[in-house]
């Protein structure tokens, strides 16, 4: 009997509490008349950033593509004459993208980043397909100063072997000195 009363009391309290919300202000932001505040890490339109040297950060490693739960990223690796990897094409089908940000998390070079821009409506779905030239921005985005190739051991133009972070100068294989 006590349990039943308690249950009834609980229901009544619920009703009362909800009723009290008559006097609380609404949380709705009337977009588009009012623009909401979006944090810098808000997950909106995806961009490809550049490293401090102005080169593409993306090395076409395909990790974003494999992390993507809706498989909306397709790219192809190619290489410049100095051995630097970059994307031959890089395509995001935003009509499939769910803005989950897993690509950004998977990216080992901070190349792919989500931005607070979410206003991406189109009348033609085909316009939601972004190619590399649409994705690439000229800035560094959220991680200024990071350059993958100056951490990685691969030699590229203007960065020889042994010049990366924490690397000793290349070994002279022909030397017998200790």
């Amino acid at each position: 009997m006590g349990m039943i009363l308690k249950a009834i009391w609980s229901q009544l309290v619920t009703l009362y509490r909800v009723l009290l919300h008559t006097f609380t202000p609404t949380d709705t932001v009337s977009y588009p008349e009012e623009m909401p505040y979006l944090a810098p890490r808000y997950r909106g339109r995806i961009v490809l950033t550049r490293d401090p040297g102005g080169e593409e950060r993306c090395v076409a490693c395909n990790l974003c593509a494999v992390a993507c739960p809706v498989d909306c990223i397709a790219l192809q690796k190619t290489e410049d004459e100095h051995g630097r990897w970059y994307a031959d094409f890089f395509r995001i089908n935003f009509s499939r993208c769910v803005m989950c940000g897993l690509c950004e998390e998977a990216c080992p070079t901070y190349a792919i980043q989500l931005t607070p821009d979410f206003e991406m409506c189109e009348y033609d779905r085909q316009n939601m397909v972004y190619e590399k030239e649409h994705l690439l921005i000229s800035g560094q985005g959220k991680y200024p100063g990071y350059s993958f190739y100056h951490v990685a051991g691969k030699a590229i133009k203007d960065k020889d072997k042994g010049e990366s972070l924490n690397e000793a100068t290349p070994i002279d294989v022909r030397s017998l000195l200790p």
């Binding site: 009703l15 909800v18 919300h21 008559t22 609404t26 949380d27 709705t28």
Partner: protein, 317 residues
């Protein structure tokens, strides 16, 4: 002249209830928004009230599709039945001393009969859809409505015993002379309220629909205006039950003289409509078996005790 007034009342009731139901769609969403700290519909017309019309246009414009596997006749008939039953229920509602379609001497029984007819609509709709979700929804709804029908009727019998009449007008008049029934018949009022919610299968007792398990229950296969008629029936039911509570337990049109009687009636009904919406905003849906055991194990004994007590007091008095 008298005829004209009668026609006016009839058509007023008809269109008024239609308009009320349509507006209720909008009003409910605004109110839910208010209680959930949202705005609710606010784009079409003043405070978004144009949504009611937009909704209707949308429902009419939608593809009116009948699944090839459905029983065509029953499928089309089912949604009309609920609207007819509910509208007929309004016939006995006394809005004001002289404003009512009909003052039947068995008005209360007529109302109970009409609400009972609504179960056919839901059951047939579920059956005709030839879809397992619809069938489950229909079966649940039949069981639920038939069960709660029992207490609904019995809960009113205390009122009938005290007022000594089935006529709703006479019940209101009895309250004018004595006391509003919700005080002597408080238990009866509570049971009628709960049974009324279950009867109109509103939240938290909307298990026939139960979208989290049955897609959309008995109207899974319905679209366009046929779906609209189920919606209409549901909202008409809300209004009907609210006005019945106002009439039977809260003195109908009775109230201080500074407002006309019909206004008091609408005010009281409106308060219960709001209460219905508050329930939807606040109370979660029980499990189906909980709903049924609640009805048979608690409400039925309580109703019988109430009836017994009323009878005993009447005899003793």
């Amino acid at each position: 002249m008298v005829e004209l007034v009668i026609y006016l009342v009839i058509f007023g009731t008809l269109f008024g209830s239609f308009a009320g139901a349509a507006l209720l769609v909008w009003f409910e969403r605004r109110l839910l928004g208010l209680w959930q700290d949202r705005l609710g519909p606010n784009r079409v017309g003043l405070f978004g009230a144009g949504l009611a019309i937009a909704d209707i246009i949308k429902l009419f414009a939608k593809e009116d599709w009948i699944p090839p596997f459905a029983d065509r006749f029953v499928f089309v008939f089912a949604p009309t039945a609920i609207v007819m039953a509910m509208l007929l229920g309004f016939a006995v509602v006394p809005f004001a001393p002289d404003i009512h379609v009909a003052d039947l001497n068995i008005g209360l029984l007529f109302f109970l009969g009409m609400t009972s007819l609504a179960v056919y609509s839901v059951l047939l709709g579920g059956l005709a859809s030839n879809n397992k979700y619809a069938l489950l929804g229909g079966l649940r709804s039949a069981a639920q409505m038939v069960s709660y029908e029992v207490f609904m009727g019995l809960s009113l019998m205390g009122v009938v015993m005290q007022a000594g009449t089935f006529s709703l007008v006479d019940i209101v008049l009895w309250q004018a002379d004595n006391i509003w029934f919700f005080i002597p018949q408080f238990i009866g009022f509570l049971i009628f309220l709960i049974a009324g919610i279950a009867e109109s299968h509103r939240l938290p007792f909307d298990l026939p629909e139960a979208e989290h398990e049955l897609v959309a229950g008995f109207h899974t296969e319905y679209s366009g205006m046929k779906f609209g008629m189920f919606m209409l029936g549901e909202y008409l039911g809300v209004i009907l039950i609210s006005s019945m509570i106002a009439t039977i337990f809260f003195g109908g049109w009775l109230g201080p003289d500074f407002l006309p009687p019909i206004f008091w009636f609408f005010l009281k009904s409106f308060a219960f409509i709001c209460f219905f919406i508050l329930l939807r905003a606040a109370i979660p849906r029980p499990r189906y078996d909980q709903l049924m055991s609640f009805g048979w194990k608690y409400l039925l004994p309580l109703t019988l005790i109430n009836l017994l007590a009323t009878g005993a007091i009447l005899l003793w008095a």
